[in-house]
Symmetry: C2
Subunit: 440 residues, 2 copies
């Protein structure tokens, strides 16, 4: 049975006409496997006739599907549950007690909610770290977007905990690989240098190498983490990761606010990717912004992530690009740092490179992960500079149509089944809070 | 002839049912003059029968229409025209040369575009400073929202320029008053302490008092302004304004990044309102954030503005609330500073107070300036805390319906005549750039 969205059939050849691609009006032909087979202003004669599905993208700006390289998707359930608190109280009194009651079913529905929000704001791939990730994978498979999943590995120097985390990590990686779904990938997720033992970090590094999967880690988000690492290990966090074998071209390090110049050069020399998480860093008052200039100079692949909804509180990568470009200018006192083109690259090309997925650009031979932004949205007018409008002016509200892997996930702002998912997610979140606040 | 929007008649009594107001499901009755006559969970029997128009707001969160207290609306035409440049080059090579070619017709269409964007993102009142303000007033009258207009008064110590600016200011104030339109107000607009002579500032203060209109000024946006003022006047900018009589409860000072504690106390003691412009301050790398804590302690009325589209680049007050709450936490290194409730108050109650308009709260006797946010937008789910979702999660894209002065300006995301305005604004902006770049 062929699925349909708003009259368009899935898994068919598609001809997209009159889209604005790189500032020019062009057509795009997508083959039945979801790959971009042709792009240009003059491909209509050759391809329009053979397409099973025609999409009119007049008045739309096409950009690559956005790539969110650091989030905890199911934390969508905690959106607005606790804000404006001191970091430690927020974690110990609010977030952790609630998370202790999380079930796989909660994570499934939280991830479904997150996927709806991501599709609606133009994200087609994300890098996730959380718990019950088999359930998260089920949700992403159904949503039709891409994700890489890791189990948040935390052992706090306990050998028993470490064994359990190793087992959970192995199970997840083997499970995701067994699905054999090109949209779903596995990763190893040592939570952070301050929550994982040296032995744990070493095992994660080795397992990531053996299985050839990403290593996703939090790095130097706060100043106190760095101080703690110096005290315990007599070296800075990035140096510790280096001695544990954790730094390679498979590594994605999130936050990275407190890296010094030498650490930036180390990450560059090892081919590490970093994720900037500006909104979260500002909200949690981490007191330093990612050293964009030093990382760029060191040749580090710099990407963008929203972090989870309890510290942002949304997953809107269009808004996050603006936060990144503005925070960098403000914190480093440079009105020319991180221009719009670089912010867009962080959220597309660089993100796809970090995740090792073939998306991130609208090019022949790549999967069709394409987002259409309504050029008639007031935030996109006038069109002196499309990239500037995308980065500095529009938000997720201007996204009209989203294609991932050649399949149409949202057309004319409509996502089939959206309301049922939102209702169920609200129900699950309410129930979770009730369970957490019921005396045992 | 009765106008209609999406089936709803204007200038009629309206009964809004099942809206979420202050966390409770309530109905609202609006009389034919556009005033809120009743609110409550139990007013249906008394008022529903007599309403000429019924609006179902089930699944909607109602907030007061947002108040943008510092912008240059017609600069929407310059959106994306120049970014990522050094401030002085940006102004002298790009912005000023373009502005030199502006006509009243340009300002009219730029303001029309700005109003569309504001309505779409929930703003029903704004405080504007620019040129050709008679034309701006025409645009706002047609759009149906509220604004206060001032002519940007700049004399650079030239007596001739001062005479001309005084005449322009008088003309504008008299013109706006002659319109006798409760939605349109006039103000006096000395641009800034560094662009207006002492004589100019004194005249503005006196004229604002005589005419009983607001005094709208830029204050201490950059460090160099403060240094320049110290050098020229041997006092800090707020002290200079005090000696010129410019500080009163009619005064709105924008930016205020570089105020010291004594200046904060001075502003508080004079009843001055300030506008925080976080996005603009970040983008232009002004290197300090408005001292929110000190201003709050001094009892200053703190409001929120987007600034113009060439330095933001949008007019989305929902996004701006997030920027304000996050920038304050980050810059002042306090994760509890400027909580969500205060950010919402800045954008509503405090803004209305600064502009001297009776809106800013959904209360009996006030004009119905009400914005309905779609509670089924994914950024609003789950609803653990509506105010948190509004400030930290949703953007303008979640606004569904907008009422100003009892008239429905947008219903179900539809604004009548929007596309014609957007097309014309694009045309006008393109033409402006062409004129500016044509050798004479």
């Amino acid at each position: 049975m062929t699925e349909k969205i708003d009259g368009y059939e899935q898994d068919t050849t598609k001809f997209i006409q009159n889209a604005q691609v790189n500032g020019k009006t062009q057509d795009i032909f997508i083959d039945a496997k979801g790959l971009i087979q042709a792009i240009g202003p003059d491909i209509r004669k050759e391809f329009r006739g053979q397409a099973e599905c025609i999409i009119d993208a007049s008045g739309m700006v096409a950009i690559p599907g956005l790539v969110n390289t650091h989030t905890h998707a199911a934390m969508s359930l905690l959106r607005g549950y606790a804000d404006d608190m001191h970091l430690q109280e927020w974690l110990s009194e609010k977030i952790w007690p609630l998370e202790a009651h999380l079930t796989g079913e909660d994570v499934y529905w939280g991830t479904k909610l997150a996927c709806i929000e991501m599709i609606r704001s133009g994200t087609t791939a994300f890098n996730d770290m959380y718990f019950f990730m088999n359930d998260a994978a089920r949700a992403v498979d159904e949503a039709g977007i891409r994700a890489t999943f890791c189990h948040g590995f935390i052992d706090f120097d306990s050998p028993e905990k470490r064994e359990a985390e190793m087992a959970a990590t192995k199970d997840l990686v083997h499970h995701i690989k067994s699905l054999n779904n090109p949209r779903l990938k596995a990763a190893v997720g040592p939570h952070a240098p301050y929550t994982v033992s040296r032995e744990g970090l070493e095992w994660c590094a080795e397992f990531s190498k053996t299985e050839d999967v990403m290593l996703h880690i939090h790095l130097s988000e706060t100043e106190s983490e760095v101080a703690g690492c110096m005290e315990k290990h007599h070296m800075r966090p990035a140096a510790l990761l280096e001695t544990c074998g954790c730094l390679s071209e498979r590594t994605l390090a999130a936050h990275c606010c407190w890296l010094d110049d030498e650490e930036c050069r180390l990450l560059g020399s090892r081919g590490v990717s970093v994720a900037h998480n500006p909104s979260s860093n500002m909200k949690l008052a981490v007191n330093r912004a990612l050293p964009y200039g030093a990382l760029k100079e060191a040749g580090v692949n710099i990407t963008l992530g929203t972090d989870g909804c309890s510290s942002n509180n949304n997953l809107d990568m269009l808004e996050e690009m603006k936060f990144a470009a503005l925070l960098q200018k403000f914190f480093w006192n440079s009105d020319t740092l991180l221009p719009a083109e670089e912010a867009l690259a962080m959220a597309t090309t660089n993100g796809a490179k970090a995740m090792g997925i073939p998306t991130g650009a609208i090019q022949i031979g790549r999967p069709a992960d394409i987002v259409f932004i309504d050029a008639k949205h007031p935030t996109m007018i006038p069109m002196h500079n499309g990239v500037s409008n995308i980065v500095y002016s529009c938000t997720g509200g201007a996204v009209d149509t989203v294609i991932c892997d050649g399949r149409i996930l949202m057309a004319d702002k409509c996502i089939p089944g959206e309301y049922e998912i939102l209702e169920k997610a609200q129900e699950v979140a309410t129930d979770l809070v009730a369970r957490a606040n019921t005396p045992k």
